[in-house]
């Protein structure tokens, strides 16, 4: 266990951290652009209101200015794409290359989640029958193999800022990390019929040693 923790700690992909890396740039840019355009429009409206019609300008273009502006927009797009591609590479590719500390097979069904730990034979169910948290270690890559038995569902653990669809006929693989201990809510995020609002889940993150203790004491058991 120690070797895996050391190795993964170097490259631990944290989806929440990747989300905020982008969020903290995208949102200020958006707010700035919005404020600029509102100010320009309001200024123009107030400045050029109540003028005689003969004063209205005849000019109606400036291709050089517009061309320069289009170039600025293109550079902005290039910048946003660089940020987007590098974050997406981390979350979708690098994360799955990490050596997982624990793997959980998740099965979605109407209207319940089943979390199965193949290494320990533990099964936990959560959903319309009630919420039973599944346990994960902090600070280490947790691999999820997500399947569905009936319709499309989506696993969303709110704290991680990540969700993924569970589509029947496939196994969707992704890797999440839980840097801090705690109880993290989640729910199904793809409309799946009548009791979609009740398909709740929760992840309980504990230290790796506490996780190991839990796994050994619960080996072969089923709950929820």
């Amino acid at each position: 266990m120690p070797a895996a923790s050391w190795f993964s700690a170097l490259a631990l992909v944290d989806t929440r951290q990747q989300y905020y890396r982008l969020f903290d740039i995208y949102v200020p840019i958006a707010i700035g652009v919005f404020a600029l355009i509102v100010v320009l429009a309001l200024f123009a409206v107030l400045r050029f209101r109540r003028r005689p019609v003969e004063k209205a300008a005849v000019w109606h273009k400036n291709d050089r200015l517009e061309g320069a502006y289009a170039l600025l927009l293109t550079l902005t797009v290039a910048f946003l794409l660089y940020l987007t591609f590098s974050a997406e590479h981390q979350v979708d590719t690098v994360a799955n290359r990490q050596r997982a500390a624990v793997t959980i097979d998740v099965t979605a069904a109407k209207w319940e989640w089943t979390f199965f730990y193949p290494a320990y034979g533990i099964t936990i169910r959560s959903g319309t029958s009630g919420v039973t948290p599944f346990v994960v270690p902090t600070g280490e890559p947790v691999r999820f193999n997500l399947r569905s038995v009936d319709v499309i569902h989506a696993l969303w653990i709110y704290y991680t800022r990540y969700k993924h669809d569970a589509i029947p006929g496939s196994t969707q693989v992704f890797t999440l990390a839980f840097p801090h201990a705690g109880l993290f809510d989640g729910q199904c995020a793809e409309f799946c019929g009548l009791r979609h609002p009740d398909m709740l889940l929760a992840a309980k993150a504990v230290s790796p040693s506490a996780f190991a203790a839990w796994a050994h004491s619960h080996t072969g058991r089923s709950s929820g």
């Binding site: 429009a41 502006y69 946003l80």
Partner: protein, 547 residues
């Protein structure tokens, strides 16, 4: 323009039947627009029902199944039966007038298209009266949930058939409009002298012709799948369905955007007494915008793992470029103008500024890592209501106040219009702004009820009150129409100092649109050119002086 022939000399049918089978584009446009408005009101009632259910946590005003029917039919009605057909209605009525034509090319296509669409809309709504209930798997009807095993019943079948007919009808109407722009322009009106609104309708009908047939295909396959099984099977089947659906599902939102952008642009230009700024870059940018919009569809599928997220993140983020050009042109039109803040102008400005919130949030979710959190939450609901409602519907009202005098011969009351605007701004932002925050706090979409998390109840209550204020605003609009038609203030041919050819004829226009010769057409604003000549300003520079 040219002589006009009728095939058979017979007495014209008047009354309801005459109006129903008329091939006059003004009659067809009006019929299509009025029916779309009726569906808007129906869809609005469904929204109010949903907002009552969601006003507080854990309410049981509506059953879980009832709620799924409501959100499905609200979305379907608004998209298939209000905003898209209204965009086409405005094209059918206004495009021939703006291009100086006596009528549509292929008017029977438009007439047949209207009736096909209307039949589809009504058939879709009959689902409400079936024992199993109306369509209830969202306006997108993902498989396998929408198949015969998971959602049996004729209500869902009626929904599918309704969509097939509605989409087919809209394709026929669009084909007629496209042929009209291609073939019926008045002498002197080259493509680069076509008005801004008509250009926005041109790119819209191109998208309808290119993308809507794929929806018809997807729905036919879904209908077969529901009754035989074996079409959308397994993982690849589910992804294929989404690929087919969203190939239509993304362009349609641009069909629901461009004409209202065009209406707002015409209103802003007219009420600034200036030509729309940057016409050629604008035309180029909307052509690029529309083409790109055909290439972004799988950004709706980022969380499926079944598509190459990078390609679609690339095309989706690239939309910043044409969108930015449009905002540059709006500012360029306002500056140096002689601005009159009529109701139509207020709605036009409202369109641009509020749509921007939707557009910027769209760039946010164009980034997969940001979308992995935002997808299927109220952040998405906020995004598309800002583009479609705070955007397009405001653009619709800009067009309505701008062109109502042309269509009816009467002016809409300005003070009622301004009251309508203020109520709608308040109601819209109260309803949809909190949704960004609710989504960020973890509220997923398409849930009939939610638990008592801190803040959720309060924000939802604010939204529900906002929805009520929207209803009052729409009611104000309807009252304005009734009052303005009852005690008419005559508009005359050109109440606004209009720039385009529809203002060079009577209000309403005669059957063949124009009597006598048209004014000379030397740009996309022929009447404004004429005014500048009269003012002796025709030789002033076209280029804006840059400080």
């Amino acid at each position: 323009m040219t002589a006009v022939a009728t095939p058979v000399e017979r007495a014209r049918l008047g009354g309801w039947i005459g109006g129903a089978i008329s091939t006059d584009h003004k009659r067809i446009g009006l019929n299509l627009g009025l029916c779309a408005l009726g569906f808007f009101l129906a869809g609005g009632v469904m929204a109010l029902w949903m907002r009552v259910q969601l006003a507080q946590p854990n309410m049981h005003w509506v059953s879980d199944q009832g709620y799924s029917e409501l959100f499905t039919m609200h979305g379907s009605t608004m998209i298939y039966l209000f905003v898209t057909p209204m965009a086409m209605a405005m094209a059918v009525y206004l495009v021939p007038l703006q291009i100086g034509a006596p009528g549509l090319a292929g008017p029977r296509l438009a007439l047949g298209g209207f009736w096909t669409w209307l039949s589809g809309g009504l058939i879709m709504q009959t689902g409400w009266f079936t024992s199993g209930g109306a369509g209830r798997d969202g306006w997108f009807a993902y498989t396998p949930l929408s198949d015969g095993r998971n959602t049996p019943g004729i209500g869902m079948d009626l929904w599918v058939i309704g969509v097939i007919l509605a989409a087919t009808g809209l394709i026929l109407v669009a084909a007629s409009v496209l042929a009209t722009i291609a073939r019926k322009r008045a002498p002197g009106m080259s493509m680069l002298r076509v008005p801004v609104f008509t250009w926005t309708e041109l790119v819209s009908v191109l998208m309808v012709v290119g993308a809507f047939p794929v929806l018809v295909l997807a729905m036919v396959l879904l209908l077969i799948d529901r009754h035989t099984a074996g079409i959308f099977t397994g993982y690849s089947g589910a992804i294929d369905y989404q690929d087919l659906f969203w190939f239509f599902g993304h362009p349609v939102v641009y069909v629901m955007f461009f004409p209202f952008l065009g209406a707002s642009a015409e209103s802003i230009a007219t009420n600034s007494h200036k030509k729309w700024f940057g016409y050629v870059p604008f035309v180029g940018s909307i052509m690029l915008f529309a083409a790109l919009s055909m290439a972004v569809w799988s950004h709706h599928m980022f969380t499926t793992g079944g598509v190459t997220n990078q390609y679609f993140a690339f095309t989706s983020t690239a939309l910043v470029i044409p969108a930015g050009i449009e905002y540059f042109d709006m500012i360029g039109t306002l500056i140096g103008g002689a601005i009159v803040l009529r109701t139509s102008m207020l709605f036009g400005l409202g369109f641009f500024l509020q749509f921007l919130v939707g557009g910027l949030s769209g760039i946010f979710i164009a980034s997969p890592v940001l979308d992995y959190h935002a997808e299927d939450t109220y952040m998405i609901v906020a995004h598309f209501h800002y583009t479609l409602f705070a955007g397009s519907v405001f653009g619709f009202f800009a067009g309505a106040y701008h062109w109502f005098p042309k269509v009816t011969g009467a002016l809409l009351r300005e003070w009622l219009g301004k009251f309508h605007f203020v109520l709608l701004v308040i109601g819209t932002n109260m309803t949809f702004a909190p949704m960004f925050f609710l989504g960020n706090y973890g509220m997923p979409r398409r849930i009939s009820r939610y638990p008592d998390h801190p803040g959720w109840g309060t924000l939802n209550l604010v939204e529900s009150i906002g929805a009520g204020i929207i209803a009052l605003a729409v009611l104000t609009f309807l009252i304005n129409i009734v009052v303005s038609l009852r005690r008419r203030e005559l508009a005359g041919d050109d109440p606004w100092v209009g720039q385009t050819l529809e203002w060079a004829t009577t209000s309403p226009p005669p059957p063949q649109n124009f009597i006598g010769p048209l004014p000379p057409i030397e740009s996309y604003a022929p009447l404004l050119d004429l005014l500048h000549k009269e003012q002796g300003r025709a030789d002033e520079p076209e280029e804006a002086p840059v400080p």
